[in-house]
């Protein structure tokens, strides 16, 4: 498959990364290079193979239902580029 400029913009939009038009071509060609390399995997017969999502061979551990965290709004907002009234994270206005 080949990735064209429109596809580059489509993915970039999903990933919320600005890609200027003058970079589309070069990026498309790099991505095509990577995908050409990746597509070697089609040589491997994976019929009946269970996908491996993790290398950890343990059972998902559970936590008890107790309040043990939170209660530090100031620490949470300490690094915020825009902390409104020191209470909220603020972002450009959203229209629903």
């Amino acid at each position: 498959m080949t990735i064209d400029r429109a596809t580059v913009q489509k993915i970039a939009n999903l990933a919320r990364i600005e890609v200027p038009a003058n970079e589309e071509e070069a990026l498309a060609s790099q991505l095509n290079g990577i995908f050409k390399f990746i597509e070697q995997l089609n040589e491997v017969d994976t019929k009946g193979v269970t996908p491996m999502t993790t290398a950890a061979k343990v059972k998902l551990p559970y936590r008890k239902d107790v309040v043990s965290d939170g209660g530090y709004a100031a620490d949470l907002l300490a690094n915020a580029p825009d902390a409104a009234n020191d209470e909220y994270f603020a972002v450009p206005k959203v229209i629903e």
Binding site: R63, K64, V67, G71, L76, Y88, K93, V94, E96
Partner: protein, 484 residues
């Protein structure tokens, strides 16, 4: 019961499926130890995990798993011993990680069903597609600043059960009753408090229309439908909107719409206009959820009696009508109240008092059963005084009104008001004799064969006793006197 809507081109059928987000009643969040309770100053119930800080990792709350399993049983559904948490990737201001941890391909609970009780006494079986666990998002506030939206993450990460029905509902009424029943079930189980105002139970309604018997039409998902009344309104509005478009030669665009409660309308959501491509994949910070069968069985063994079973028992053992049983079981607190009153007493009498008298006053006063001024024990006490002939049924209603107003028990009210029934034979005899003497005309009528005149005399005796004389005794003594 299909509710068909007549358009210009004939009749249309509404097809509805519901996605209900029910907040798990846990102390802490699904994947963090921050408090999950309602309220709290902005961002005070947020951990670095909930806020998507670098290097933070989720650890699952066991209690939330248990509540999901319980709810699954309440929905007569398949409990999946193996399920997977996936990331649903999208950008939004109230989604700090850029993804929501949810369950996509393998939910914790699979197919099931729920019985919806219709007003005519019939039940409708509605299929449950699935129930999965997922994180709630934060809250955006758009009205505090002209240029900015403010984000409060207190709800971010709170555990939700998303319960998806099959598109089995056919009218606004059915949809509303479905939600009521679902709310009853989660409240019985204690897995969700069902509070729609606080957002503990939220509905997304999928609506499409079709000509009866035709293929399913394109659906629109209506978000933010946050009361049972709004569900009916939203369905009605949306169905008519779609019919108008189709009949006008248009086609329905699959989209997410927002219900505007003020206008009673649905409108397209700008923020969701993007093509959905959530890029779900298994969350590599969490391993597959493997649940012990023994634990599931243990949970099953501790399940409370649910509305359907309770209803069946009320009908079978208490001999109540299906309608009365429905009214009593919809809220567990009501059923519990009724059962406390009925215990050791005549069930039908108890049901009658609870449904007619108590619910009547509660409705009028806009009160919940939990706030009833008359406790179940006191209502039971009142019924006992009727049973032992202390007061008549008619007087009991007056006593009940005083109990409601003044917060006293039946015996106190009876004593204070001197309402105790007159059962002293001598005293009643005197009253009867006086009445015979005072009403010679009526006595003459009776003797000439007009039986009805006897009723008049009884009435006079009751009047003289201020209603306290035992009517049966009055009748008996009067008959004896007149035949002597």
């Amino acid at each position: 019961m299909s509710q068909l809507i007549t358009g210009k081109t004939g009749e249309w059928e509404i097809v509805i499926g519901l996605e209900v987000h029910a907040q798990v009643t846990s102390q802490s969040k699904l994947f963090s130890g921050a408090s999950a309770t309602y309220g709290g100053t902005p961002n005070s119930q947020v951990s670095f995990v909930d806020a998507g800080f670098p290097g933070m990792l989720p650890v699952i709350n066991q209690y939330c798993i248990e509540q999901a399993i319980k709810t699954g049983f309440g929905l007569n559904a398949q409990i999946n011993l193996n399920s997977v948490f996936d990331r649903k990737n999208y950008f939004y201001a109230d989604l700090p990680n850029g993804y929501q941890i949810s369950q996509f391909k393998q939910p914790i609970v699979g197919e099931g069903y729920m019985l919806v009780d219709m007003p005519d006494g019939t039940t409708k079986r509605v299929g449950i597609e699935r129930l999965h666990l997922e994180q709630d998002a934060g809250k955006s506030q758009h009205d505090q600043d002209p240029h900015r939206s403010f984000i409060d993450l207190n709800r971010a990460g709170v555990a939700l059960m998303e319960i998806v029905s099959k598109p089995d509902l056919r009218s606004a009424e059915e949809a509303a009753l479905y939600v009521k029943k679902l709310r009853a079930i989660v409240r019985y189980l204690g897995t969700c408090d069902g509070n729609m105002e606080e957002g503990s139970l939220r509905c997304d309604v999928n609506v499409s229309v079709r000509k009866p018997g035709a293929e399913l039409g394109t659906r629109c998902e209506i978000k933010n439908v946050n009361s049972v009344r709004f569900i009916s309104q939203a369905v009605e509005y949306e169905a008519r909107r779609q019919i108008e478009i189709i009949e006008g030669g248009g086609t329905i665009k699959q989209e997410t719409r927002l219900f505007d409660a003020n206008k009673g309308e649905t409108r397209s959501m700008r923020s969701k206009e993007d093509a959905h491509d959530y890029r779900y994949f298994p969350d590599p910070d969490l391993l597959p959820l493997e649940i012990d069968e023994a634990w599931v069985n243990e949970i099953k063994s501790t399940l409370p009696e649910l509305p359907d079973a309770k209803k069946a028992r009320f009908i079978e053992e208490h001999k109540l009508s299906a309608y009365d049983a429905d009214v009593l079981v919809m809220e567990k607190a009501k059923a519990d109240y009724y059962e406390a009153v009925a215990k050791g007493r005549d069930a039908k009498v108890a049901a009658n008092w609870v449904i007619t008298e108590l619910f009547g006053l509660l409705n009028k006063a806009g009160k919940e059963i939990e706030d009833s001024p008359v406790s179940a024990a006191r209502l039971g006490g009142l019924i006992d005084r009727i049973a032992d002939n202390t007061i008549s049924n008619r007087l009991a209603k007056d006593v009940f009104a005083v109990m409601w107003e003044e917060g006293k028990d039946a015996d106190t009210v009876i004593a204070e008001k001197g309402l105790k029934q007159l059962t002293d034979t001598g005293a009643i005899e005197k009253l009867v004799e006086a009445a015979i003497e005072a009403n010679p005309a009526a006595i003459a009528e009776f003797r000439s064969g007009k039986e009805r005149a006897l009723g008049f005399i009884v009435g006079q005796v009751m009047k003289q006793s201020q209603g306290k004389a035992n009517p049966a005794m009055v009748n008996e003594i009067l008959a004896k006197k007149l035949s002597a």
